[in-house]
């Protein structure tokens, strides 16, 4: 095992870049290795949504905000997949690493908490975006889609994937058993997603429920993404971006604070 001379040693920033890249590569390798569980199911689920809600029920509903119902629900369904998969990737990977204790491989290495956080978050973003692309391709088999604003579409999808990656990370930090990583998706994430304007415009709701819906952060993401693709939204795009960024910053700050204190990872 040869000695490394100072000239051979990469600088601290370069070393950190390699560390983060290694975490991301490992994360991507993990979810692509089990693509039958991670990539394929969202495509099948979305195809069923399009068949049932788009082909069978959609024509009876008619147009919504001036577009076909199938086109209207497509952005919401894509966003639903991004949210679910970004969250699932980080929560299952990090909790699995805690459970099998191989998170210690990273903890004993000279990797600051910030980079561990960024590495896992990027892994979640990659899966979220990749699944988003697969689901979009599935949607194109059923309906015509165009992109009104690439900038808004891409920014929203990346920020949303980041936000739910961070949420998954927080869940994994506090989880002590496998039940703990299914409680949040089942009892919080799924209801919020279904009530977040994926299948309907909040204009259809009574005034009271419209106001209640505004407390659901997923509503802002779905509408911002729908704006990016179709140019229609129940929420002003500036407000939607403001909410998404606010949540991203809050969750990032909370995650970093917990990691620095070793909550859930160090004794």
């Amino acid at each position: 095992m040869g000695e490394q001379t100072p000239a051979d040693q990469p600088g601290v920033n370069h070393r950190y870049l390699i560390s983060v890249w290694t975490i991301v590569r490992k994360e991507v390798a993990r979810f692509t290795r089990i693509w039958l569980q991670t990539i394929l199911p969202p495509a099948i689920t979305m195809a069923l949504y399009f068949v049932i809600f788009g082909n069978l029920i959609g024509p009876r509903i008619g147009k919504m905000h001036g577009v076909d119902y199938m086109q209207y629900i497509a952005p919401g369904l894509i966003m639903m997949s991004v949210i679910t998969n970004a969250y699932a990737n980080v929560v299952s990977s990090l909790f699995g690493a805690k459970f099998q204790r191989h998170i210690e491989e990273i903890l004993v290495a000279p990797i600051p908490s910030l980079l561990l956080l960024v590495g896992y978050m990027l892994g979640g973003i990659v899966r979220g975006v990749l699944v988003g692309i697969v689901v979009t391709a599935t949607a194109l088999c059923f309906t015509h889609l165009h992109v009104e604003s690439w900038l808004v579409t891409v920014t929203v999808i990346v920020l949303t994937a980041a936000l739910f990656s961070l949420a998954g990370l927080l869940n994994a930090l506090f989880a002590k058993k496998f039940d703990d990583i299914s409680i949040v998706p089942t009892f919080i994430l799924t209801p919020l997603t279904y009530l977040g304007g994926v299948f309907y415009s909040i204009d259809m709701l009574p005034s009271f429920w419209q106001k209640v819906s505004l407390g659901n952060p997923i509503l802002y993401m779905v509408n911002a993404f729908r704006y990016g693709m179709l140019g229609v939204s129940d929420i002003s795009i500036a407000t939607a971006f403001g909410v998404i960024v606010l949540f991203c910053v809050a969750l990032f700050g909370a995650s970093l604070w917990l990691l620095e204190r070793g909550v859930g990872l160090r004794i």
């Binding site: 990469p10 070393r15 191989h102 990273i106 004993v108 290495a109 000279p110």
Partner: protein, 309 residues
């Protein structure tokens, strides 16, 4: 230069349990050091604190001059940790586990693959590199953890019971590997279940009990404090009664197995003279317990489950 300095190291868990109660310990560069102690003595907690997996309550840890309070990331670059429990992904290949570990230390892919190959070849795992880690035998899993800990070429390697549960052949292979590694300049700290291992490999030794350091000296110096050793003698013929002796405590385990306690200051020549005088022929002779084990029991008052903590 000092490889490791622990000063006033203390750990109190959330439930109030005191795992470490002010450990002061120094390990010199290039040493082969044994850290022993009975179950729950605090050895693994000490290693956990050094490696950052356990947060200390008080005290100071300095690795090759780097205070972990000031620059833990810098200190970690010098450390290689082989934990007691298997802690790698069961779904990854041997190759990915070792190469990824190098990546976590910021080592470029090209260099990481070269080092991984060296480590895996040295530890006789090269042929298994593409196998999933869960398919490896217990001994191979232990060697995988050593390969992983060495891939970034640490100056200080800490092994928490590395030979637990491996067969004799693999244990000897690992001993030879560690001795060679130490001779090439790597400082090694070892906790072990096998006291013979510590006696055979290590130059210096510390014993922890109930979170406190109760002994810290050279293995040689510690062995000189041994007051008595028990030998087991296999006899050529059955013995009906014991020969009378004022200098040795004799007992028969069965008719052809004699146990003799030899106090410090007594000579084995006198023992054999006594046996010869009574026509007793000895076929073979061995220590009843490892010498260090006898000392360990004396120091800690622990006769069972010796150092698994």
């Amino acid at each position: 230069m000092k490889a490791l300095e622990l000063t006033g190291l203390k750990k109190v868990y959330a439930d109030g349990q005191i795992a470490l109660d002010g450990i002061d310990l120094t390990v010199e560069d290039g040493d082969f050091f044994a850290l022993l102690g009975p179950n729950g003595a605090g050895k693994s907690t000490t290693i956990g604190i050094i490696s950052s997996l356990v947060r200390k309550t008080a005290g100071r840890v300095v690795v090759y001059g780097i205070d972990t309070e000031v620059d833990f990331q810098g200190a970690k670059t010098h450390l290689g940790i082989v934990p007691q429990e298997f802690n790698f992904s069961l779904f990854e290949t041997v190759w990915d586990i070792v190469v990824n570990q190098a990546g976590y230390y910021g080592i470029s892919r090209a260099r990481a693959t070269a080092r991984a190959e060296t480590c895996l070849r040295h530890l006789a795992l090269w042929d298994k590199r593409m196998d999933s880690s869960r398919t490896l035998s217990g001994g191979m899993k232990r060697r995988l953890m050593i390969a992983r800990a060495l891939v970034h070429e640490p100056r200080l390697l800490i092994l928490d019971e590395p030979t637990a549960g491996v067969d004799i052949e693999v244990r000897r292979l690992m001993w030879d590997f560690l001795v060679d590694l130490n001779q090439r300049g790597t400082t090694v700290i070892l906790t072990t279940h096998y006291l013979e291992e510590a006696e055979r490999l290590c130059r210096n030794i510390a014993i922890i009990d109930h979170g406190r350091l109760i002994e810290n000296t050279t293995v040689k110096a510690l062995l000189t404090t041994l007051h008595a050793e028990t030998f087991v003698l296999d006899l050529a013929k059955p013995l009906a009664s014991l020969p009378p002796s004022a200098d040795f405590v004799l007992s028969l385990t069965d008719s052809t197995t004699l146990e003799v306690v030899v106090e410090k200051g007594s000579y084995l020549n006198d023992l054999f003279a006594l046996l010869s005088a009574h026509g007793i022929v000895v076929n073979s002779m061995r220590n009843k317990a490892n010498r260090l084990e006898e000392l360990f029991i004396n120091l800690t008052g622990n006769g069972g489950g010796l150092v698994d903590g």
